[in-house]
């Protein structure tokens, strides 16, 4: 297969794939999922910090 044919094959492959639209809802779902995960991590960090502070506070009292 000549590289021109290979290029034509890739162009056709891209053309077919390009006709598949990525819906806005799918992109938004990914963004929301990431935001929820970030929120969970921040909450975990906050609770861990509070726990460490209380532990340290109790030990010093």
């Amino acid at each position: 297969m000549h590289s021109d044919n290979l290029k034509a094959g890739w162009t056709e492959h891209k053309r077919q794939a390009g006709s598949d639209h990525i819906p806005e809802a799918e992109i938004l779902a990914v963004i929301r999922q990431e935001a929820a995960q970030q929120h969970r991590i921040r909450r975990l960090l906050y609770h861990s910090s509070c726990f460490m502070f209380l532990l340290f506070f109790c030990q010093t009292c």
């Binding site: 290979l6 094959g9 890739w10 056709e12 492959h13 794939a17 639209h21 990525i22 990431e34």
Partner: protein, 164 residues
Amino acid sequence: MSLEKEFITIVQQHSGIINSICRAYYPDADDLNDVRQDVLLQLWRAFPAFRREAKLSTWLYQVTLNTILTRRKKDRHQARNESIDEHHLNQLAAEANLPVEDAQEFSWLISQLDDDQKALLILSLEGYANKEIANMLNLTPTNVSTRLNRIKTKLKDLYRHALR
């Protein structure tokens, strides 16, 4: 324009790049949706750090290919089993002398390459120079050149074999 809106516009405008790479590695529709979500997540995570002086399409190719290569490394065993089946089916098709269109022929040839070879071939067909490909895939330009030569030889052999 908010970051979210800008991201959605970019993804929709360049859906061809994302879909074509995902399809090259995961031809099945079920896998395609899974991997596309993975890619979108990585693109969204990398988006705030994207430097505007870099070409948008280059950034998309880089993040998409690296996400897929990492995912493929994770499910290497499964992928190996799939490629054996695929290889077998394609050999049957070749032996039966089925007529193939350009895109089908391309899909067949690319399915015979390993994950890294696919990435190199796609970037080379997109017209990226060896130095750019090396930067995108963390390789040296010499390594890229050597690997591309090997891929070309392999494709020629495969094509000759399929025509027999």
